[in-house]
């Protein structure tokens, strides 16, 4: 704690204070008649226009962790880390059409979560609960990771003590966040996202212009990176892909793109928008963040050229590569600008953490509390329950960081991507057809989940000496289907999530055919065709915050 970086700290604290005020003021911003309804607290009144939606979803998807971890990945492994770019290129064209249907049916029926939709589409509390629990489990470690991003910044500013004291600034930041989210709901992150994104844009534009000039241009940056990777023993790194990881690169990009809008927090951002045209415009405008992410990713190579070294985390004793970008800013920029950059990353952690905790709270309230604990809960009771559970979710995430190795959160997030993909058949395919039978979906979920976990468990990481959960890249050689190894001897790697999803779909289809043959009930569909096309301005549109 001795060598605090004062100028950075003062700028960071000032901006942090500003967003805290915004967070509390947000409760009154575009307020509806009441905050005692999930449509208001949990979805900001379902009336955000194009700009707010752009800032909100941008702030939601491109998180502090992304901004810290992606460059760290390029720093460590090279080209493979750049998968984040094709991932975010694909995500928007991929979800363009299904998201519009999801928005419309949710607007027409008052759904707040993806599990609400599944409940309405199949009338199956079991299936809806599986989707809700998957969503909550996938979201929790994601919130914890935001803290990892925030903490990387705090450690760079000098708060690098061990034990409880080292976590104190983080704890304070999170208590403040928890209180204003409780108070203002989704309006708080929506308003703060403006500040966060403006800061992020300023910092990154300056960084990608200034740093290459300072470090001798992109060719010397890539040259330095190539030199570093050539000197290592590992074959998997380099500034280009190799024969073994190209399939991994493509499937990881595709799998991540498929998973992106299955995450409950993404759905929350989408459902909060006013209408279909708002979403369509955003599918074209959100890639502006991808450009930013790609440029930022290259700063991982700039850090190699600048000779940046990761800070040792005093709590774990290991070098923390996630501090690479903050450290690069710290080394290369005057301290006042580094302070702005740190504030961008720090506030960048608060926005998604708030939205994620709201999304998880919505899932808990709508699909577990209302389904099993208090069936006749009034909208007011729902809102109250969601506010309370958002606090619990956030402190659960803090506990993860305080009491567990941060690596545990990173592992969980890796798993989170694989498990959220297993909700694709029940959520995304069901938007188009009920051909997949509800029991097929349940069976597919079980198989996809089980096999995905088994595969992840069996992946070692030679670089860190870990035997299990060493990454999401599966060598095809290891693919073993009841003793049958279709690709024995192959060293080509593939993303586990895609393998598990294919198994899920296959099982879902087979069981669906069987269930139909046996004439098993496929549940009652309470949605109608027209629900999937409603838009703002329609007459007879369900009022926002309608009583159930």
């Amino acid at each position: 704690m001795t060598d605090l970086q004062w100028p950075e700290l003062i700028i960071f604290s000032t901006l942090f204070l500003l967003v805290t005020v915004l967070g509390f003021v947000a409760a009154r911003w575009k307020a509806g008649d009441t905050l005692d309804h999930l449509d208001e607290w949990g979805l900001g009144g379902r009336k955000f226009g194009s700009w707010i939606t752009w800032f909100l979803i941008g702030g939601d998807l491109y998180t502090a962790y992304t901004f810290v971890a992606v460059p760290a990945l390029l720093f460590g492994a090279g080209a493979m880390g750049f998968f984040a770019l094709p991932y975010t290129i694909l995500a928007y064209p991929l979800v363009f059409l299904p998201l519009l249907r999801l928005w419309s049916v949710s607007r027409a029926r008052g759904y707040v979560t993806p599990a609400d939709f599944v409940r309405g589409r199949y009338g199956s509390p079991l299936l809806a609960t599986l989707i809700a629990v998957t969503g909550i489990v996938a979201t929790m470690p994601y919130i914890a990771l935001q803290l990892v991003g925030l903490e990387a910044v705090l450690r760079t500013m000098g708060f690098n003590a061990g034990g409880f004291l080292g976590h104190l600034p983080l704890l304070i930041a999170f208590i403040i966040l928890a209180v204003y989210t409780y108070q203002s709901g989704l309006r708080a992150p929506a308003l703060i996202a403006f500040v966060k994104d403006l800061l992020v844009y300023i910092v990154i534009i300056v960084a990608v212009i200034y740093l290459p000039i300072k470090l001798g241009g992109w060719d010397s940056i890539f040259g330095a990176a190539q030199e570093k990777f050539a000197a290592t023993d590992a074959e998997s790194d380099g500034i280009l892909l190799n024969g073994n990881n190209q399939l991994q690169y493509a499937t990881l990009a595709l799998g991540s793109a498929l998973a992106l809008f299955l995450y409950p927090h993404s759905v929350t951002g989408v459902l909060a928008s006013r209408g279909r045209n708002v979403l369509k415009r955003n599918m074209s405008a959100l890639p502006a963040y991808s450009l930013l992410l790609g440029l930022l990713a290259l700063l991982g190579f700039a850090a190699i050229a600048a000779g940046t070294e990761a800070i040792t985390n005093q709590a774990t004793g290991n070098p923390d590569t996630n501090t690479i970008v903050p450290k690069l800013f710290d080394d290369q920029f005057p301290s006042w600008f580094a302070g702005i950059a740190f504030a961008a990353i720090g506030i960048g952690a608060l926005v998604p953490a708030a939205i994620m905790s709201i999304a998880a709270a919505n899932l808990w309230t709508r699909n577990i509390y209302k389904e099993f604990i208090k069936r006749d809960a009034t909208p007011k009771e729902e809102a109250r329950q969601a506010k309370l559970s958002s606090l619990i979710v956030k402190f659960g995430a803090v506990a993860c960081i305080l009491f567990l190795d941060p690596q545990f959160s990173i592992d969980l997030q890796l798993i989170g991507g694989v498990i959220i993909l297993q909700t694709l058949p029940a959520v995304a395919i069901a938007l188009y057809t009920r051909w997949l039978h509800r029991w097929g979906l349940v069976a597919g979920w079980i198989i996809g989940m089980g096999w995905g976990m088994t595969l992840l468990y069996g992946i070692p990481n030679p670089a860190t000496g870990r035997e299990h959960f060493g990454g999401a890249a599966l060598a095809l050689d290891k693919l073993n289907i009841f003793g049958w190894q279709p690709f024995a001897g192959s060293t080509v790697q593939i993303y586990v999530g895609i393998v598990a999803l294919l198994a899920n779909l296959l099982v879902a289809a087979v069981v669906s055919v069987i269930a139909r043959q046996l004439k098993v009930s496929n549940g009652t569909d309470t949605t109608v065709d027209a629900d999937y096309h409603v838009d703002e301005g329609d007459e007879d549109l369900r009022p926002v915050a309608a009583p159930h």
Binding site: L90, L240, A250, A253, G294, D529, A530, D535
Partner: protein
């Protein structure tokens, strides 16, 4: 139940513009661009090609937006108007 839901269909309203959304997926073909030359501003082809991929993606989604904007009428003509659709009572 199953028979009834089968007859219901999914109410698809397809526009040919939507086909444009397939184009960005070429970015999955890594062998196309996994090389250093030609470089641009010192950046290997692998990297700047994917930045171009963002522009391609944006172009496609933007074209689809303008192509399908406010085309509520793209529904099959036999269906009642949207407003009536919303009235559950009028549906079967």
């Amino acid at each position: 139940m199953a028979a009834q839901s089968g007859a219901k269909g999914s109410g698809l309203r397809f526009s040919p513009w939507n086909l444009l959304l397939i184009i960005p997926f070429w970015i999955l073909l890594t062998p196309l661009y996994n090389r250093v030359e030609p470089t641009l501003f010192g950046m290997p082809f692998f990297y700047w090609f994917q930045f171009v991929g963002i522009a391609v993606g944006v172009t496609c989604t933007t074209l689809v937006y303008f192509g399908t904007k406010n085309r509520r009428g793209s529904a099959p003509r036999t269906e009642p108007t949207d407003v009536d659709d919303l009235d559950e009572g009028s549906l079967r």
